[in-house]
Structure formats: structure tokens, C-alpha cells
Symmetry: C2
Subunit: 331 residues, 2 copies
């Protein structure tokens, strides 16, 4: 039962059809300079023998595998899941296969996996948020063609724009009348952090009398819940959470403590994870189009594979989703 199914070879088809290997190869590859009658005979033989060319042998002689490799830090991370799906479907639609590697958030593993999987493929899509800039630059040359995801470097990249939608959320809150807003900071090393801080700075300088106080929190539910006291002490009437999980933690803690949302406190998240619409009240957030991000990554890599230079940096802009967790401040 464990036996590999035996596949017919081109030699067998040639013998069956009474022609040479070359002719079979020509027919299978749609070369027109073959007598129609002969071609038909070959096709029939191929069909009865259930033949199709061995992709390995083909790869070896053609120098391309019709496969791309993808390295992600954690397959269980929702960010990469959507990305991977968009990527996979787009690549499959173009006749490519996808080799994945989960680096388990381990940096040196990232490097090894990238190099190794790249040799079995025609190009690489690299999600390596942890890797140092130096290490990244070092690897990039050895794995070209390569496309980076959510990270800049000496290679084409696709990334989500965090700055624009965060600023849009701030404008939304400001428009509702909020003048003192708290920002629950998450991971400082996150590639998106600089963008978020930039959006905060923009708002501070461009919006009259708009104060934004930064409160260290974290990236998960517990961090959000734990920050409630600090938020209340800050005097803020609205909160920008680092992500939806943090927002939900805060929302949950607020509800437990009898702080009404959005009556006494408005809360906005980021990411639009599937559950964001089901909290009470539903969460205002920004939807990162991860699937689209993956599709773009493939498009960029495909350009590279075809010898064209894609745009150096391609950006997808998350859409702000206004729900019930934000409203005008009390009184």
C-alpha cells in the first residue's frame, strides 16, 4: 500500500507509439512541427499509458521548477494565513506550486530554510520580521529572485500601510469630538510600529488641540485588559489599541469594571480579525487585506521570474471599518 504508483516514462510511450523519444517530447510540448497523424498516435499512446512528463526530470533539464518557496515565521499566525492563501491561489492559477517553511520564529532557521527551499524552487517570498537588517541583506543576494513581505530591503516588497488607516481612525475619533486619545503601544520591534508612531505624530501636529498619550501595553488580550487602569488614569476618552486582541482585552475589562463602551470610552482596534465584528459592541478597526497582500506578493515575484522589474514597493491599504465601539465622548 505504501508503494509509489509506477508512472510511465517517455521511453515507454515512444515504444508504444513506435516513434522516438524526441517525437513524444515534441507532441507533449505542443510543438507543431509534427505530422498530425503521428501526433494523434502519440497522444493516444500517452493516454492509454496514463503518461505525463516527470516534473523532476523536466525541472533538471529546463532549469526551472514551476515552484516558489515561502518562508513564514509562524503558520498559526492569522496574518500569514490569509497571506498564504492569497499567495497560494494566485500562484496555482498561474501553474506554480508552493513550497512552505515555518521558521518557528527562529532567526537562524529563517536563513537556512530560505536558502534550502530556494534551491528547490524558482523564487522566494520571504516573511522574516525578526531577522536583523544585516542578516537580511546577506541572505537576499543568495536567494534572488525574492520578494519581501511587510519589510523593506534590497528587494521588491509588498507591505500593508499602517500609517494611513491609523491616521484615518484618529481623524474619525477627532471628528467625533475626542481631544485626548490613548495609544496602547505593542511590540516596539514590529515593522509596523514606526508607521504607527508616524501616524500619531502627524495627528499631533495637524489636529488642533489633539493630545495622544502613549501607554505601554502589549500585543494580546491580557495586555489590553491589564491596561485599563492606566487608560482611565490618563483621562483619555478614546483608545487606539495596538491590535484587535488588545482592544478586545481592554473592552472586556472595561465591561467588567462597569465602564460603558462607547459611552464612557471609545475603543478602536487594528487588523479586523474574524471575531472583531462579534464583540459587544462590535469593534471599530482597520481591515488588513492579507489575502490581497499574498496575491500581490505573487504578482511581484512573477514579474521577477519573467525578467521584468516590479515596483520596488507595493502597498495595500487597510480599510477602516467603523462599528459600534467608537462614539462621541461623554457629555
Amino acid at each position: 500500500m505504501a508503494a509509489a504508483p509506477k508512472q510511465a516514462t517517455i521511453t515507454q510511450v515512444a515504444a508504444h507509439a513506435g516513434v522516438s523519444l524526441a517525437t513524444v517530447s515534441r507532441v507533449m510540448n505542443g510543438n507543431t512541427s509534427v505530422d498530425p497523424a503521428l501526433a494523434e498516435r502519440v497522444k493516444s499512446s500517452a493516454a492509454t499509458l496514463g503518461y505525463s512528463a516527470n516534473p523532476l526530470a523536466r525541472s533538471l533539464v529546463l532549469g526551472r521548477t514551476q515552484t516558489i518557496s515561502v518562508v513564514v515565521p509562524d503558520l498559526a499566525n492569522p496574518t500569514f494565513q490569509g497571506m498564504l492563501r492569497g499567495l497560494s491561489r494566485a500562484a496555482v492559477a498561474d501553474g506554480y506550486h508552493v513550497l512552505i517553511s515555518d521558521s518557528d520564529e527562529h532567526e537562524d532557521e529563517e536563513r537556512v530554510l530560505a536558502l534550502e527551499s530556494r534551491r528547490r524552487s524558482d523564487g522566494l517570498i520571504l516573511c522574516a520580521p525578526r531577522m536583523s537588517d544585516a542578516a537580511l541583506a546577506d541572505v537576499l543576494g543568495e536567494v534572488a529572485p525574492v520578494v519581501l513581505v511587510n519589510r523593506a530591503g534590497a528587494a521588491p516588497s509588498v507591505a500593508a500601510d499602517y500609517r494611513t488607516p491609523l491616521r484615518a481612525i484618529i481623524d474619525h475619533l477627532y471628528g467625533l469630538g475626542h481631544r485626548r486619545i490613548a495609544y496602547l503601544a505593542g511590540s516596539r520591534h514590529s515593522a509596523s510600529n514606526a508607521q504607527r508612531l508616524a501616524a500619531l505624530d502627524d495627528a499631533r501636529t495637524q489636529l488642533a488641540a489633539c493630545e495622544i498619550v502613549e501607554i505601554p501595553a502589549g500585543v494580546d488580550f491580557a495586555a489590553g485588559a491589564a491596561s485599563l487602569s492606566a487608560v482611565l488614569d490618563s483621562g483619555a476618552t478614546a483608545v487606539l489599541a495596538f491590535n484587535d486582541l488588545t482592544a478586545m482585552g481592554l473592552l472586556s475589562a472595561a465591561t467588567d469594571r462597569g465602564v460603558s463602551v462607547p459611552g464612557q470610552l471609545s475603543i478602536a482596534g487594528f487588523d479586523d480579525i474574524p471575531f472583531a465584528r462579534y464583540t459587544s459592541p462590535a469593534l471599530t478597526t482597520a481591515a488588513v487585506p492579507t489575502s490581497q497582500l499574498g496575491a500581490h506578493a505573487w504578482a511581484a515575484l512573477r514579474s521577477l521570474l519573467q525578467g521584468r522589474e516590479p515596483a520596488a514597493e507595493l502597498t495595500v491599504v487597510p480599510e477602516v471599518i467603523l462599528r459600534g465601539s467608537t462614539a462621541p465622548p461623554a457629555r
Copy 2:
């Protein structure tokens, strides 16, 4: 920039070291019957040239690719994400690469992808819940060695046990004093459905005066919310939802309608999705160890690849997680 990095070949290493191809091959593969001095010279040459064997050429001559393929219906489905991670990490630990295909829930696509990706790998792990038994049986022979996930067939399989934990949840509710329990039915075609119904039947026959009423619902949040009226009309004091999403929908609707949970109604879900612990009250549910399921799938396939026959069917048992959404019935 799009140029592929040029890799040294075994011929170049041989020339550089002044030996034959065979010797280089022997050294690279750790064959001990090589003069230590020569071996050292070869290694040094390989190092300076940055050589490592072309995996494609190796695959062709060895007849194995050190790669396995995985076909899933939807990469965005949480069930497969954990599975894929467990699988990927386990396979990588054993020096194997993973080729994935997302069939986009399309049955004929499942077949094609399975066949095609299988030819680029040494074995297949197939998640094909939609495929008919006949179509499955048809494919199975052509893709061996193969391991099925969450589905029985003429091949080794790994699956989650839905019956035992569902029964355990029922016992939990019965133990709390509930005697009339509603079951929110989901997808009838689901492979797990028969198991759930079996658990229900077991309970009905083995627990004295225990009524279980079946209410058609669905598999998502909206379906759960929509079933509230039917649940209340049924006179049940506790509910077994098809999955966590359905449970959360019901919980949300109940809260909105002023029905206290677990005071007036106990609710249990299934799956333990990441957010289940963060609802108010937190959800009693059963945690399907998807990552472990993936690791088991790899272990079974590895056995097959090594010529051993693994257990025909390997089962992981979800652990029941008791949280705040279940309690003794009112009064």
C-alpha cells in the same frame, strides 16, 4: 536583481580539488571510504566554492525528493492552520520539505492538485472533506503513499475524536443537573457529524431521563444567533453548539435578549478557537489539538515512506475545557 544566484556544480568542485566527481559525491554524502586528507581537500574546495548538491539532480537519481505534499480545502480555515503548522514543523525536523495546495473547496481541483503535487514529492497528506467516497477511492491508489486527515478510506488516516469529548460535555451538563439539552446541528455532510450523533445516542440510552433535542442551526456565528428562539422554545436548559462560532452567536443573542448565561442557559461549544476563552462568560468547549493532528499525520506518512505500515487509523482526543458558560440549571 532577478537573476538566479549561480551555484557551483559537483564538476567544478571536482576540478578545483583535482579529484573525480565520484570522490566529491562520496565526501558530500559522508562515505567513509575516502582518504581523510583527500576528503579534507574536497571539503575545503566545496566550502570556498559555496557548493552543495543540487537537490533536483539528486531527486532524479535517488528517486526521492525529501518533500511531501499537503492538500487542504482552505488555508484560511483554522482547523487546517494548526494542522499545517504541526505537520510542517514535524516534517522539517525530519529533513523534509512541504508542498502545499489550497483546493479552494473545489472537489475536482482537489483531485488534480493531489495528483500533480504528488509527482513532485514522496508522499501525500490529503484533507479532502468534500470529495465523494468513490472519487476518493479512485484517487487513493494513484497517490500512495498517502495519509488521510479527518476522513476514513483505504489508506492510513489521522482524525480527531468528536464522540468522546462531546459525550464528556454531555456528562458534564448532566452532572450539573441538566435533563433537557439542545443540540445545535451544523453541517450534515461533515465527517464529524456521525460521531456527534453517536455521542448523542449514547447519552440518550445511558443517562436516565436525559432528553436531547436536535435543532437545525448551522456552522457560523449568525446561525447560532438565529437559533435562540428555537432554543428557548425547546425548554432546554443547556445547549451543545455545533462549534464555537455557533456557540458564540447564541451567547451573543442570549445576552442581547437578556437571557443570562449560564444562569438561565448553559452553552458549550466545540473546537476551542483562540477567542473562546475571551467571551463573557468564557466558553466551555473541547480543544481539538490540530497541531498534534498534523504531527501525527507526518508520523504516519513517515512510517509509510520507511516501508512500515502505520496504524490504520490514529486518533487524537480533544480535551474538554470547562469555563464559565456552563453551570447548574436555574432553581
